[in-house]
Subunit: 211 residues, 4 copies
DNA sequence: GATGAATGAGCGTTCATTCAT
DNA sequence: CATGAATGAACGCTCATTCAT
């Protein structure tokens, strides 16, 4: 049990996951081969049996990250698109405190490192994919009548995505408590959703009172 | 106060400024002593005559950054607080393309690096100062009647600050064109301001149509 | 002798041959286990089933090389010893351009690496064998009257061997064209042979004019 | 005395010399940064204060080598060109046993490594320079009447250079004793010089008896 | 008081070799 | 018995920092 040899695919996943965690904790540049190897429990050069080099490991970590983001976006099966958005927002805010290193932290680190490493294009691509997914949800809501017809879809998608970013940044700056904990973040989400909720639909927990 | 003591102080400023620029271009971890010394024109260990080490230099750079942020917040002298917010937002969006390295880029880099260097607390402090300043402006607007009385001041301050953050992150991810260039960012700003504009006040360039 | 025992022996030969080629192309230090395994088509530690380690593989390659050198020395069956020497010289110069990797290149590489690996003694042995063979040819020529009786046999043997070495070194330095291509090498061979040709024997294509 | 700081130029020379020696002993690929640093008495990365990297160190070593070769070629001031050649040959054979690592060994190693590293062109250039210098000496001898007029200058130059190469290779193969020690090398030099000596000139110590 | 020399820690990577499977 | 996983040593190189000068 102690010194079990793992198969390559297991190891690859293990390495990617460990790297993702390390990126979340120490940043992309802090994700050194030694730290990764240490986290996996193997020794330095052994990483090269599973990946061709550090870059490929980082790419593998990004792939895993992407999967997790997709999983997040698919995590809500609520048929009501507006409700779905709210649940996504709630989930994101929740993971800010429960599993930062798993998704939001590395996501942010990759984005931050993006314009220096050559990972930029990949991150931009991923971001666009996320935007597209959000856009699709909003349009679905518009079609099903839960979201107002005159809504600026791109504006809303960016607002939603932006909110998650700000949560991340606040977390990175050690202000998660002040932004998320005190409910500011939740009120911002509420505002976004209330503003786009179709009249008569009470999916949004609160309503803008007089508009 | 002393006569020629300024030489050293000038050098400190020079070093801080150079460091800030380098941080904007290469990130916090890319701000190596060699690069800084090179940019200042002195070379190598001479930096230790003015600062006790790399950390202190970075702190000095952050101090300078803070000054610049304050200068930005004070850059508009418009008596109308609502208008002032709009001008600040416009200025930020503008500097995204004109002088990224000067303020927004290093600001973002410091925030990004924050939670692993020991600069976090300082950044949080700076962020709180900015929030306080924004809060003051909003309250001023409320008092002068240009901003609605029932506005959630903290929510608005965070929304405004968050918008600048998202602009930065979009820029870092190479998506400035898609977010700022296509006007999404401007529409988000407009939405924030329109929502808080006192009825009858037309400081906001556009109005939400039916509210 | 055994029936299917040849498989292993074949593999050994295969490995030795591949190694020889690699040594010719990348040098002794460039003959890595990975490259050898790759060339043979098996991969990695399988080599240890046939050889005890890298050193033994290199020794195996040298053995094969020795065989090939012997084959070269035996390649001419011309009964006239003087002619035989000329043919050997011509063959060597020819292989410089046609099959460098097969013999001359690895031969040179092993010689070059000799004094730091522990292969030196083997190479010296091989060299002595070659010298002995050349000596035998020269003495045979002397006995059959095609080579002058008063010739300094060791001097001639070394001169001949030295010429092949210089051809190799010139090739290694990228000066094959200047040394072999322009006929300098051929004239040196001619000079050696003319000087030792017995008077009246016209085996040498040219004659020293005034002796 | 113990920890004296050396000036850069001293160190550069020191490093080049040490590298040359190491190349002579361990080959070009064996000239590792650690070994060089060790030989100089400084520690690894300190080398980068004087050279930009390993390649530049190797080039520096080659420069030094070139100087030494030139010094060798200029070491004889004998007005008689034929005598000069003999003295050069004698000196070379002598250094084979007295200071192998200083010149001949590294010279050979660089030549041997040449076709793999990108030092080839430099070595070829150096070789051509040496050939040119030898050619000049031979032509000078022809003009002054100590060397026969009908001599093939290029052939002689290559023969002479080739002899030094063979001495080197023999040394590398551990056969210096058999080639140089027993006088074979000296007789080869004698033969070259005797063959080109102008009739009546007895600069050559020995004469071929009957030609 | 500024500089050049030097260092120790650490980086990503390669290689010959071992061992469980 | 051949392979894939793993390792320890070593490689060239970068960096923040110290210290003699």
């Amino acid at each position: 049990m102690a010194f079990m040899r793992k198969t390559s695919e297991e190891r690859r996943q293990e390495i990617a996951a460990a790297t993702l965690h390390i990126v979340g904790e120490f940043g992309v540049e802090g994700a050194t081969m030694a730290r990764i190897a240490d986290a996996v429990g193997i020794s330095g050069p052994a990483l090269y049996k599973h990946y061709s080099g550090r870059t490929e490991i980082l790419e593998g970590a990004m792939d895993l990250l992407l999967q997790r983001v997709v999983a997040w976006l698919d995590s809500s099966t609520n048929p009501n698109a507006l409700e779905r958005l709210r649940e996504l927002g709630d989930t994101h805010a929740a993971t800010m405190t429960t599993d930062r290193e798993g998704v939001v932290a590395p996501l942010f680190e990759f984005a931050a490192a993006g314009h220096r490493s050559n990972l930029t294009s990949q991150m931009a691509e991923r971001t666009r994919a996320t935007l597209a997914k959000l856009t699709a949800i909003i349009e679905e809501g518009r079609d099903q009548g839960t979201i107002r017809a005159d809504v600026d879809v791109r504006l809303v998608a960016w607002s939603f995505l932006g909110l998650t970013w700000v949560e991340n940044l606040a977390g990175a700056e050690g202000m998660a408590e002040e932004f998320v904990g005190t409910g500011v973040s939740a009120r911002m989400l509420d505002k976004i959703l209330t503003d786009i909720a179709a009249p008569g639909d009470d999916s949004g927990r609160a309503h803008s009172q007089d508009c």
